[in-house]
Symmetry: C3
Subunit: 344 residues, 3 copies
Amino acid sequence: MSFLRNCWYVAAWADELNDGMLARTIIGDAVLFWRADNRLFAVADRCPHRLAPLSMGLVDGGTVRCGYHGLVFNGASGACTHNPHGSATSVLSIRTYLCLERHGIVWIWMGDPERADPDDVPAMSFIDNAGEHAFSKGYMYTAAGHKLLEDNILDLSHADYLHPDTLGGGSITRSRAKVEERGHTVFVRWFTSGEPAIPIFRPEMPDPMMQTDMWTEVVWHPNGVMILRVGATPLGRAPEQGIDTWNAHIMTPETLTTSHYFYCNSRNYKTDDAAYNAAMAAGLRTAFEQEDKPMIEAQQRALGDAELFDLKPALLAIDNGSTRARRIYQRLVADEAAASSQRV
Amino acid sequence: MSFLRNCWYVAAWADELNDGMLARTIIGDAVLFWRADNRLFAVADRCPHRLAPLSMGLVDGGTVRCGYHGLVFNGASGACTHNPHGSATSVLSIRTYLCLERHGIVWIWMGDPERADPDDVPAMSFIDNAGEHAFSKGYMYTAAGHKLLEDNILDLSHADYLHPDTLGGGSITRSRAKVEERGHTVFVRWFTSGEPAIPIFRPEMPDPMMQTDMWTEVVWHPNGVMILRVGATPLGRAPEQGIDTWNAHIMTPETLTTSHYFYCNSRNYKTDDAAYNAAMAAGLRTAFEQEDKPMIEAQQRALGDAELFDLKPALLAIDNGSTRARRIYQRLVADEAAASSQRV
Amino acid sequence: MSFLRNCWYVAAWADELNDGMLARTIIGDAVLFWRADNRLFAVADRCPHRLAPLSMGLVDGGTVRCGYHGLVFNGASGACTHNPHGSATSVLSIRTYLCLERHGIVWIWMGDPERADPDDVPAMSFIDNAGEHAFSKGYMYTAAGHKLLEDNILDLSHADYLHPDTLGGGSITRSRAKVEERGHTVFVRWFTSGEPAIPIFRPEMPDPMMQTDMWTEVVWHPNGVMILRVGATPLGRAPEQGIDTWNAHIMTPETLTTSHYFYCNSRNYKTDDAAYNAAMAAGLRTAFEQEDKPMIEAQQRALGDAELFDLKPALLAIDNGSTRARRIYQRLVADEAAASSQRV
């Protein structure tokens, strides 16, 4: 099993590049990122001369100089622009990757540059529109493969058991999920009517334990981007009268068994409340780092290098969304492999 | 080379279950142990749904609930008794293991349940009969295979070099061992007449350096249980007039190269002396943890994943007991493999 | 790819044996070294009985006693001189290695003893002749293969980028290296005329930034010993009127991907200045430990277990010396393999 290449991956939060270079491995490729003159650069983090990581060198505007023997490369074209020891021949060029910044995120295209279309970046305008005190985000390196992490979001019933006092409360389990494939995406929606809101929402209701209408929606994209809308309103009232949150959970593979986990949260209430915002950020971090991460890393350790489905796990109704996502991903990877072998 | 399955393994000291669940891997199987209502439970530590360790969940009486999606399993039958997301079908059952508590030890049967006979648990009534201040025990996780650890006990001449000031003194080396196979067990006996007792026994003699009769006996069982009797009496006196200790050294494989090492000691002298008992416990712990463990782990590192005998070590007379034990073990494993292939 | 065996390897600085035994793995062999009665001993660090490391035992004069079961071995012949458990047969002997002390270094011959000629030890009289305050040395365990480390010295242009404020300054890059094969050695010489000296030499010139003649010479030996002469004199003056340093950089393989790195430095100026000597020692240690080592270990991580040349790195003119050295080494190893198979 390998990775999908022709898609936009989330490489970093844009502000991760504010203090200089960032070295990060994406689907197995060591990549060096930096920003200069408001332009992003992403190149193979490996000098073609002696394999030294270019991230141990220096960037200067749009160029990077290897720290070992001084070769200089253009970050956009990959061409060697200066070889202090001879001519800068084309043999000395490095691979560059298309990248762009949108929604406060650095996106990288790992596949065939001719197939890259910036319009394929999933829309996340909620990030752009969120006020300073109505938004938080995080990055979590995780020793588990992207599929296990995506499974976790595509089956949010886990919140009732893993986060019972914050994000769960039993309502997701009681409401059966609606699952739809929409093109290459998977849409999952849970809806409950007549239950108290999930614990973190209760203080926002007129009466904490009152009956509500509550919705949770996930859209999964094959590049590991999942966008979640989670909200509640007093029973029978319009959604607009309730509270709503927009979230992203994004799993970018480092290797088959390790991932870069990016997450963020925005909301439509207490939007100027810095203290609440900080508490929300801390609470989510705790849930993801202390509850999700240990469980999923334990799953990965139990799996070792095996694929989950090769071990014939028992399938439940709640696996509908994740199973569909895994099939779509598998089909897309197979399509890429077929296209690649035809070209040869 | 694989493990013997049809035998009772020591899984834990019984009091290790006093504070809740215990997750421990036995001959490669991840097992979850707990006690409820005076009954022991041992089940596969892996949810059949997504392979999450059940030890990250909760036990309630004789059931365990997975911490990830809430499936509940009966610890005795392994049946799923509650699936919050659908019906609890037989596909959701988990493996359970026979286990029993005897001699303050949790025993587990890793093989065919129909062949399990509680009478096959090696008798260790000395544990039951030992007074509070005449008994100590310990557990030592060891990065070495069970065979190297069993070799160490089956050739106690090592005490003369590795523990010269406590358990050795040269007498074991000078007395040639008597070795007998008794069914599937190996019996080794050293006896010296006219030598001072081993260092830790000397203060118990009428005169520390006086001549004694001294005996050391080991009975090895294929499940890694070794029972030792070690004592001394002034030369020519009856054993009953001397001092005697009963000990167990038990090696339960975790993997081929790591082991659970359980040990205990009881004695027939100073049986009410709490301070002496504590000093004895500390002394034995030091010998095993600081002297035996580093040496045997170094052996394992030198071996890597190889079998000792594949590297053609030089055999000495002192290896008689361990060589016989290795052969019996190999034959029993081969018998199990043959029986298993006939059944298929 | 394997190691050259028929050569003298540097095992240790002689004073590393002043405080007792030294266990060190050389080209994959675990070896135990010690000195007694002004004689050196080097034996396989593995008891033939149970593979226990003899370095966990005790040396007594020219013998070593295994700490596990007391077998005693003669460090010169390897014969077992005492088996407390039976006769000391020839089957119990251990491998011994020829070794000798010269230039303050313990040398070991890992190959066929009949081919060992002490005259093949590279001459390093500069070590013997250096005054106490004109000499420093160090040892640096390095998680990189010996070839990458030798490449680093055979192409000193790296100093201009990795050590720009101390050992480099651009002059090595600007002067093209002269490379010669001399028998089984490789000689590389850089010479600049009219440039300021390298930074650490500038304070020693009549005027720091004055024009100089500057020389850097490396002689590489297939056993990983590289001898460097680096010096400078005011432009047009005789070398004898300038300053000169003699250095050794020695890479002894532990495994294919880890090395023992020994280095030393002597000089012809400020030879009685203890403070300067200490500052020079500290400066070199910083350069090697903080600048070279991280870069070369990063190269090795990028390589994994692959050979550099199998990944088709781009070759530059500066790789001339290292490429020749790699070819000579490869040829010598192939010759050894051929000779060994003929003998069989």
